[in-house]
């Protein structure tokens, strides 16, 4: 069982979660607590159940056992931006929002992601990174207590990805939602998260809290070892982080 150190009420509390597809049990008795303001990254090989977990938390899929307690509906950012091509950017951001003052709130959210001057533009005029920033604004405008990020940077080029990661870190620090980031990228997880989880066979197999006393490099090596990556196959650490040296 995962214990939360942060004192405030959790953004989400999962107990004994079970999820099956036909005969196959994809998630077996999973426990997870994410505190408000806590950034949790979830790693794991393809098919380990991490996307299934995210879909269950977002309410898109039913659950077959256990419980999920969350004070409010979570906001989700998908791998694809999923903008409505027929709506202007501000209309996209305010999708599902009450109409009173929607444009003003959308304008604030778009300004936060650096697109404050594109309120009436169409999604087709945006680059991939800009589209994903609008998707982020659409999630933040809901003022979520839990923000679910399903590999939101995976489709972006390397430079855009680094910029987006910095932006997400900054926005999360300001708005303090609980965050669950599903990712394949160990470096991304280590760079962004307060706590890194590793999922295997439908349960949490490994967990590390990023504290000042442990170097990110050590956590990264541990995680890679848990994922079965041998030292010779490892990539060098990104040059942007001086605390990490090339293996």
């Amino acid at each position: 069982m995962t214990l939360s150190i942060v004192s405030s009420a959790p953004a989400v509390e999962v107990r004994g979660l079970v999820r099956r597809y036909g005969d196959r049990t994809v998630i077996r008795g999973l426990d997870l607590v994410i505190a408000r303001g806590e950034f949790v990254a979830l790693l794991g090989e393809s098919g380990c159940g991490k996307t299934t977990l995210l879909r269950a938390l977002s309410g898109l899929d039913p659950i077959d056992g256990g419980s999920i307690k969350a004070p409010r509906k979570p906001a989700v950012v998908f791998q694809e931006h999923r903008l409505l091509p027929w709506d202007s950017l501000w209309r996209n951001v305010s999708l599902g929002q009450p109409p009173q003052g929607a444009r003003e709130r959308a304008a604030l959210a778009l300004a936060e992601v650096g697109l404050g001057d594109r309120l009436d533009d169409w999604p087709r005029n945006l680059s991939g990174g800009q589209s994903q920033r609008v998707a982020l604004a659409r999630a933040l405008v809901q003022e979520p207590e839990l923000l679910l990020l399903d590999e939101p940077f995976a489709a972006l080029d390397a430079l855009t990805r680094l910029r987006m990661q910095a932006l997400v870190k900054e926005l999360v620090a300001r708005h303090r939602p609980g965050v669950l980031l599903v990712t394949h990228d160990v470096d991304e997880a280590v760079a962004l998260a307060d706590r890194v989880l590793l999922m295997r066979h439908g349960a949490i197999a490994f967990e590390r809290r990023m504290t000042g006393s442990v170097s990110p490099q050590v956590v990264r090596d541990e995680l890679l070892e848990q994922l079965g990556v041998t030292p010779s196959a490892r990539r060098p650490a990104p040059a942007s982080d001086p605390s990490q040296s090339v293996v």
Binding site: V76, F78, W86, D87, L95, G96, D121, R124, R138, Q142
Partner: protein, 289 residues
């Protein structure tokens, strides 16, 4: 086009002296034929065709009872328009087409939305509609005359019948093609069922529906021509059939030309609708803001 080709070759000629692996910029816009030149070129063939037609008629190679000269048709148009009878017949025909289009379009769209959204409606309605659709609707013409006589109802009915199917088919198709990922988004964003339909399903289906509208406009005219030719007391088809009695080929050709103009006009309206309603769409909206 040949003069443009020649210019392109001219521009390329000095390259002979340059090293073979040197890359030069593409020919500038000036080297390509201008928009006006292409527009003029596109009108050349129709104008030549009219001139040849006129020449054949004036020289007596073609008898006026077979085919009247274009100038004769224009003169007839002017005469009929100034007496007001052409405007009256045109008005009658347009009203029939519009009424039939509105009725058939509304029924087709409503059925399409029902079948697109509901599996039960799909099971109850779709097979029957598809079976009726397989019948060429113009084959029902003798039957419609027995049912409704040769009055307005028969004509409006035939137009409605022709319009219904393209609108229905394309509405169902459009709704089915809405991206399931956007429907997931609607759930995540907490949209109601009505909100999902209004914000996601209908806008997503719109390009397909408008394709149906464009096709239906063409069908509406075809249905009207057939219905009016068989029996009418007014309208363009009546004008043509009345003229046939007196071998007035000039009037007959005039009605054909008017039908063609109206066809082109309705296509223009459909394209205008697409451009206005699908401004967001990369294929319709033109350049971005």
């Amino acid at each position: 086009m040949s003069f443009a080709d020649a210019r392109a070759i001219d521009a390329a000629a000095p390259s002979g002296s340059a090293p073979t692996n040197t890359r030069r910029p593409a020919p500038s816009a000036a080297a390509r034929p201008s928009r006006h030149a292409l527009l003029a070129l596109s009108w050349t063939a129709p104008i030549v065709f009219l001139l040849v037609w006129e020449a054949l008629c004036c020289s007596g190679y073609v008898a006026p009872q077979i085919l009247p000269a274009p100038t004769k048709v224009a003169a007839t148009a002017w005469k009929l328009a100034s007496t007001g009878s052409l405007v009256h017949d045109l008005g009658v025909s347009l009203l029939r087409a519009a009424t039939g289009f509105a009725i058939g379009g509304l029924i087709g769209f409503t059925l399409g939305v029902l079948v697109g959204f509901s599996k039960i409606a799909d099971a109850a309605i779709d097979r029957s509609v598809q079976m009726v659709r397989a019948v060429p609707f113009l084959a029902a013409l003798p039957l419609t005359i027995i049912w409704f006589g040769v009055g307005e109802v028969q004509k409006v009915f035939l137009v409605s019948l022709g319009v219904l199917f393209p609108i229905y088919v394309n509405t169902v198709l459009g709704i089915r093609q809405v991206d399931p990922k956007l429907l997931e988004l609607a759930r995540v964003q907490g949209l109601s069922a009505w909100g999902t339909i209004r914000r996601i399903v209908l806008p997503g289906a719109l390009p397909s529906v408008l394709t149906g509208v464009r096709y239906a406009l063409a069908v509406a005219w075809l249905a009207l021509v057939v219905a009016e030719t068989v029996g009418a007391q007014a309208g363009l088809g009546f004008l043509a059939m009345d003229a046939r009695e007196f071998l007035r080929t000039d009037v007959i050709v005039l009605t054909i030309v008017i039908y063609a103009l109206i066809g082109a006009g309705s296509d223009w309206i459909a394209r205008l609708l697409e451009r206005r309603l699908l401004r967001w769409h990369p294929n319709f909206g033109g350049a971005g803001r």
